[in-house]
């Protein structure tokens, strides 16, 4: 079924009796050409592009729980292409271009809203860095605009401009950045993949890999063995747990990141803003809640919940930037598990085991990467060659000394 305005009107007039489930619930077959582990945004996008763009068939997505129940269902929904380094920016620009056409492409309303992202600067040095970043973005086909204080005031008059320690001097505005309805991304990709024959198998947990002579033959699951020509692991957050079953050690630590939503408010925040003096970023959802987050807690965790010191730190950052936030009540907060990699950048690569491929290490930037990560992982799975925008995301970059370290922190995952 195709979604359209006419369809909505027709269903409205006929009592909404014609809507059908968006994807099937098939039993697993004994063998597939491609098995994707992980029914999150990346895994579903990989299956979708494999089928649609790379002409593959016999594809399955295995999901331990329900699709879209992991980090694609619990993030701050921001999309952007404002990275500095050559290994990253072409990839994220490719991703943003896919976002811009995504809803037409998979015929699903993902509420892509390019409302702009403003990175605030508070010192001359930060302004220089913002100018450099902006130039790097423009060179890679993205957009950037350096605003002075008056420019920021016009957009966000209620910010704390004249703070004694961290006055707002301006900001780098990335107009094509914005937010997306995160759940709908998973659902849209799932539906698009399902229409093209992909089996989406939920409640199917991978318990091990069957390998022979260094080749992966398939996966053991709680619903039996499933043979596979190629297996793609796309389970960021659980990468350590899944790859451990294949005996692969990763350049990744798992950390918990907390995010928060306030009670619903009238429209106050037209775009996304990030604080330059503390770690705080904020947008307003279409339901009115302010969605914001900050730093990871900083210690290895699989607990999906964090501790109070970081809550305090995030809220302090928020209130110092937007004093009016002091009157707002928090509605809920949650913790998600991040693959924090050794240089803060992701991995889309083959493993040492033939037929086993890996996509992970997204730190807390995986959501915006969803379309391009799916496309590039599908490219790798189908052709055994990295996509031209993802050539830097290799396992061996650490051994060769080609880290992509946006923050320049070195091999210390909790600082990225």
């Amino acid at each position: 079924m195709r979604f359209s305005g006419f369809r909505v009107i027709k269903e409205a007039l006929s009592g909404h009796k014609g809507w059908t489930p968006h994807w099937r619930d098939p039993e697993p077959k004994s063998h597939y050409d491609f098995v994707i582990i992980g029914g999150g945004g990346h895994g579903l996008a990989t299956a979708y592009y494999l089928a649609k763009e790379f002409g593959a068939s016999k594809i399955a997505v295995l999901e331990k729980g329900w699709i879209g129940g992991g980090n694609v269902g619990r993030n701050t929904t921001i999309i952007r292409s404002n990275y500095l380094l050559d290994g990253n920016e072409p990839f994220y620009e490719f991703s943003l271009k896919l976002w811009e056409n995504l809803e037409q492409d998979f015929n699903y309303n993902a509420m892509v809203s390019q409302r702009g992202i403003l990175n605030l600067v508070h010192t001359d040095a930060q302004r220089d860095a913002a100018r450099r970043r902006g130039n790097a973005m423009i060179l890679n086909g993205s957009d950037a605009e350096l605003l002075d204080q008056d420019g920021v005031r016009k957009l966000y008059p209620f910010l704390n401009f004249d703070n004694a320690r961290f006055p707002i001097k301006g900001g780098l505005l990335h107009r094509r950045g914005g937010t997306v309805r995160h759940d709908a991304v998973a659902w849209g990709y799932a539906r698009g993949a399902d229409i093209r024959g992909v089996d989406i198998i939920q409640n199917c947990e991978v318990t091990g890999f069957r390998t022979e002579n260094g080749k992966c033959l398939g996966v053991e699951t709680n619903r039996g063995f499933i043979g596979a020509g190629k297996v793609g692991v796309s389970v960021a957050g659980s990468s350590g747990r899944v790859m451990e079953k294949a005996g692969v050690r990763l350049p990744i630590e798992s950390h918990v990141l907390q995010a928060f939503v306030s009670e619903g408010l009238k429209p106050v925040l037209p775009g996304v803003i990030t604080y330059g003096a503390g770690h705080f970023y904020c947008s307003q959802s279409d339901k009115g809640g302010l969605v914001f987050g900050g730093d990871i807690d900083g210690y290895n965790s699989y607990a999906q919940r964090g501790n109070l010191p970081v809550v305090e730190d995030v809220v302090e950052g928020g209130v110092s930037l937007i004093p009016a936030l002091g009157r707002v009540r928090l509605l809920r907060g949650w913790g998600g598990i991040m693959d924090m990699s050794m240089d803060g950048s992701p991995i889309i690569d083959k493993t040492d085991i033939d037929g086993l491929y890996f996509n992970g290490g997204w730190c807390y930037g995986g959501f915006k990467a969803t379309p391009a990560a799916g496309w590039c992982f599908a490219h790798l799975l189908k052709t055994d060659q990295p996509h031209e925008t993802a050539t830097a995301y290799r396992f061996d970059r650490f051994r060769r000394g080609y880290m992509i370290d946006e923050k320049g922190q070195g091999a210390q995952p909790n600082l990225h």
Binding site: R241, E244, S254, N300, A303, M342, Q412, P413
Partner: protein, 95 residues
């Protein structure tokens, strides 16, 4: 989280900074033939277990001692805390 410091008793985890897996105590021999491989594993690869994890915490806002904390990464429960100095000596490190 509270960390039960062997010398100072229970302290708020906020007083500490976190480094990572306590395996970092065992620095490879830089003169070994495969030193490059060993240092690649030492610097960049991690076990990253879901469960008990021995890890290095630094009492930055306290007595500036390094601790080896055994903590469950699924529940955040801390079951053992030792001075990293003692752990390193028991593992055969001289300094």
């Amino acid at each position: 989280m509270l960390i039960n410091h062997p010398l100072l008793g229970p302290r708020d985890a906020q007083e500490f900074t976190y480094l990572g897996d306590a395996a970092l105590i065992q620095r490879p021999d830089w003169q070994a033939d495969d030193a490059a491989d060993q240092f690649h594993e030492y610097l960049y690869l991690r076990d990253n277990p879901a469960g008990l994890h021995r890890e290095l915490w630094f009492h930055e806002a306290g007595d500036r001692s390094w601790l080896v904390v055994t903590r469950n990464t699924v529940t955040h429960e801390i079951t053992d805390v030792q001075l990293a100095r003692d752990v390193a000596r028991n593992e055969g490190r001289s300094t």
